[in-house]
């Protein structure tokens, strides 16, 4: 699922163990999608109502798919950004700060430059992406030039980002009400809002970067063996810097979609993105130790997490058990998609 390179993959044995493990996340997603309607069916049958499995399901419907799509789109962008970093064997915890800063800068610029996409205010969109890139670049600089492990560097940069967003807003929230920008949410093509297509477009861009560009392949090289890549003449520092910068751009896109979704930009826009995105990446089958996985895995991972969150409310699970169910399902998903023979130990 990860690499669909032009002429790669010799067509050999079809159902190997490797293949099953590779497809496990998708399998989990499939099971979840069938599981929640089952609980709906059970509930109605018990209540003595007629209910044809799947057909009468409210969960298993286009409308709900669109809702899951809306919930997943911003998280997908952020998760894709961090996917590149995790493929390199590093980690980026700065997304909450970066998303907030980008959202706030976007909203300020958008309103200052006209407040509608039809004016010069559309420039706020590339401006936000530039800001994201800059944040990512600084994050990368701190990590690479000061030789601080990415976990710590990005954690601290996350504080700086949130702090910067707070400094910019003074704590106020800004509404972005331009109907054209908000058509990300309100306009639907084939039942799905525009933002879902925007997210898919960026997913394809990410896939393109991952499989068709030198930079994308170099992420895998660095994740597979950094010292070896360096000895082969690869400028690993540059790849890392570019990686963090690219992640910043995707965080910015996530911020734009998040603003598009609720029409508000604030310091809290970035909240909760950290654990959701990293969990999604791991659940999708991208290994935290680097070199394995890709953006399609991340798509599946984000969908798994979003489907669980949506499904739990839909089947009426009490709020206090939802956290535990999410936790247990995440563990299960990771267990199923881990090739235990290829890893000697895990920390």
């Amino acid at each position: 699922m990860a690499d669909t390179m032009a002429n790669a993959a010799p067509a050999a044995r079809f159902l190997t163990r490797d293949r099953i493990i590779k497809w496990a996340p998708l399998l989990v997603l499939g099971v979840l999608i069938l599981l929640f309607p089952f609980f709906e069916w059970l509930e109605d049958i018990r209540a003595g109502e007629a209910h044809a499995y799947l057909i009468d399901s409210r969960f298993f419907s286009i409308r709900n798919a669109a809702r899951i799509g809306i919930a997943a789109a911003p998280a997908l962008m952020v998760a894709i950004g961090v996917t590149f970093i995790i493929i390199m064997g590093s980690i980026d915890l700065s997304m909450e700060g970066t998303v907030s800063v980008c959202a706030v800068v976007f909203a300020f610029a958008f309103l200052a430059w006209g407040g509608t996409v039809l004016s010069w205010a559309w420039l706020a969109i590339p401006a936000a992406m530039l800001v994201g890139a800059a944040m990512g670049f600084i994050n990368g600089l701190v990590h690479v030039k000061l030789k601080i492990p990415s976990f710590m560097a990005s954690l601290a940069m996350g504080f700086v980002g949130t702090g910067l967003a707070l400094l910019l807003t003074g704590g106020d929230r800004t509404r972005v009400e331009d109907p054209i920008f908000r058509s990300l949410l309100t306009e639907r093509w084939f039942n799905f809002p525009v933002m879902v297509y925007v997210a898919l477009a960026f997913l394809l861009i990410a896939w393109f970067i991952q499989s068709r560009t030198t930079l994308g392949r170099n992420f895998y090289a660095v994740g597979g063996g950094e010292e070896l890549a360096h000895a082969s003449g690869l400028n690993v520092e540059r790849v890392r810097l570019m990686g963090f910068t690219l992640a910043g751009v995707f965080f910015a896109v996530g911020a734009l979609l998040a603003v598009g979704r609720i029409g508000i930009a604030e310091t809290a826009t970035g909240n909760n993105f950290m654990f959701v995105s990293i969990t999604a990446v791991v659940v999708g089958g991208t290994a935290l130790w680097g070199g394995i996985g890709g953006v399609w895995n991340t798509l599946v991972g984000v969908l798994i997490v979003s489907v669980i969150n949506n499904g739990m409310v839909v089947i009426g699970l009490p709020a206090y058990v939802q956290d535990a169910v999410l936790g247990i399902l995440v563990i299960l998903a990771v267990v199923l998609s881990t090739d235990r023979r290829s890893v000697s130990f895990v920390k």
Binding site: M5, A6, N7, A8, A9, P10, F208, R212, T213, T214, R217, N218, Y220, A221, G223, G224, G225, L228, A229, H230, A231, S232, G233, L234, N235, G291, I292
Partner: protein
């Protein structure tokens, strides 16, 4: 054409290179030998740009150069063929070959995979390897990977106009005999285009291939010998600073083994790894498992150590049937394991000498879980002396010791704990002659002390020289048993015949 003059390199506490003069002529194959720690790897790193020298000059065709990183060295035609595990295994063959130099296949930011595959095929043809360039490297054998390493360096041919200098670092360690021959043939053919620097522990190979041989000791070049004048003994003498006994397996010291059975396998199988294995290991016996990579030798060792649970059959250690297979209980029964990957499995880098020595037997140096550091240290001091481990003191980080001394620490760990069933997996791998000798000496000494040893040897000569009993394994099954008393040992041919 490529020349180092009076090159110096210092690290904190170590003067690694002392005024080294080194020269490679056009089309020449230059050998480089020396004990571990003699400065070979530092010299190579200086040559391919990983280190910058502290003093002296580097010139190419008379022009002074200074490389900040390996890439700059490559741009001057200097390439390095690393040991087997330096390809990035999650990448495809072609990606590995062109890693860092993808630019020529990029059009408008897009990699043209077809063009890269085409170019990769051309490179693979140079090393006579016929595989799909889109194969993921992890699926290939070590020998294939070694050739890909060479193919990768040979991309310099197209990139660089001038002469090439290619460093070969232990390229033969994972190759079978015919693969070595193929490699050497290739190298000789390529001398019309490139010069080679060849580094190996296998003295015969160095002499076979090289036009001249540089001998290093303690950071200095102590001799330069021409191919025709080269003699193994003389070179070894210069490397070690003393004569090396031709009979360094010390066959004459081999004593007959006792009757007491330490380990007994009775029709043991472990899934696909090995089948129906039976043997007895006695006190004082060196039992050698001979076979190719993946023949099941290692799996048998791991079963004795408790890391591989058999699927059927009976394993008995010192008369006790083994029911649960885990390392702890094996260690408690006196089994000690000297793994092949010394640096990651043998010693714990970051822990000092005494901590490493007591790691497997902390219960002997503690009361109710509290360590008695004083006792640990005196143990370490006595073994440092006994095995002549070169370390300033017992508080030195083991990661900083040379390979041979690390191996001694590992052996001291087991011997000091009273282990008398010692499993040796390639115990001399990557060691130089002097250190190898020390290991052989220790193996003999352990036998004399009544230990039983199961050995998976680095070379067949070693297996023959050291063992009482040789069991040839092929595809997980025993092929043949040889009982070799001194003077009545099987020949190399006998073994290879059954192995393949």
């Amino acid at each position: 054409m490529y020349e180092l003059r009076k090159v110096d390199k210092k690290f904190p506490g170590v003067h690694a290179l002392k005024a080294v003069d080194f020269k490679v002529n056009r089309g020449e194959i230059v050998g480089l030998v020396g004990e571990n720690g003699a400065g070979k790897s530092t010299l190579m790193k200086v040559i391919y740009g990983a280190y910058q020298p502290d003093g002296g000059t580097v010139t190419i065709d008379g022009t002074a150069v200074r490389f900040q990183n390996p890439r700059q060295a490559m741009e001057h035609g200097i390439g390095m063929v690393f040991q087997e595990q330096s390809l990035i295994t999650n990448l495809t063959v072609m990606e590995n070959i062109f890693l860092g130099y993808e630019a020529r296949f990029v059009k408008f930011g897009v990699i043209d995979w077809k063009a890269m595959a085409e170019a990769a095929r051309k490179q693979l043809a140079k090393v006579k390897l016929d595989i799909n360039p889109a194969t993921v490297t992890s699926e290939l054998s070590f020998a294939q990977r070694q050739l890909i390493e060479l193919a990768k360096v040979l991309t310099l041919e197209e990139r660089i106009d001038g002469d090439l200098v290619i460093l070969l670092d232990e390229p033969t360690s994972v190759l079978a005999k015919e693969e070595v021959d193929l490699l050497f043939k290739l190298v000789r053919e390529l001398t019309n285009r490139a010069s080679f620097i060849f580094v190996s522990h296998r003295m015969d190979e160095v002499l076979d291939l090289s036009d001249r041989v540089y001998v290093m000791k303690d950071g200095e070049v102590v001799d330069v010998v021409d191919h025709d004048a080269a003699e193994v003994d003389a070179i070894q003498h210069k490397m070690v600073g003393r004569n090396v006994d031709k009979e360094y397996y010390r066959e004459q010291k081999q004593q007959p083994y006792g009757n007491e059975v330490l380990v007994s396998f009775d029709a043991v199988s472990a899934g696909q790894r090995y089948k129906d294995i039976s043997f007895d290991l006695h006190r004082g016996e060196v039992l050698c498992l001979v076979g190719t990579e993946g023949s099941g030798r290692e799996a048998i060792l791991r079963t004795v150590f408790g890391l591989q649970t058999p699927t059927s059959g009976r394993v008995t250690i010192k008369g006790q049937p083994v029911s649960s297979f885990n390392a702890r209980s094996s260690v408690d029964l006196g089994v000690g394991y000297v793994p092949r990957e010394r640096k990651v499995e043998g010693i714990v880098a970051g822990m000092n000498v005494y901590e490493n020595m007591t790691l497997s037997q902390m219960h002997n140096y503690s009361t109710a879980g509290v360590l008695k550091t004083g006792a640990e240290k005196s143990l370490a001091r006595s073994w440092i002396e006994r095995l002549a481990i070169k370390t300033p003191n017992e508080n030195k980080d083991c990661g900083g010791l040379s390979g041979g001394n690390q191996q001694k620490v590992v052996l001291a760990k087991w011997r000091s704990g009273g282990s008398d069933i010692i499993l040796l997996d390639h115990p001399t791998r990557g060691l130089d002659i002097g250190a190898k000798e020390d290991v052989y000496e220790m193996i003999r000494a352990m036998c004399d002390d009544g230990a039983g040893i199961i050995l998976v040897a680095d070379t067949l000569e070693e297996a023959i020289g050291l063992s009482h009993t040789i069991l040839v394994v092929k595809d997980g099954q025993f092929q043949k048993r040889f009982d070799g008393r001194p003077g009545d040992k099987p020949s190399l041919y006998d073994l290879v015949h059954h192995m393949i």
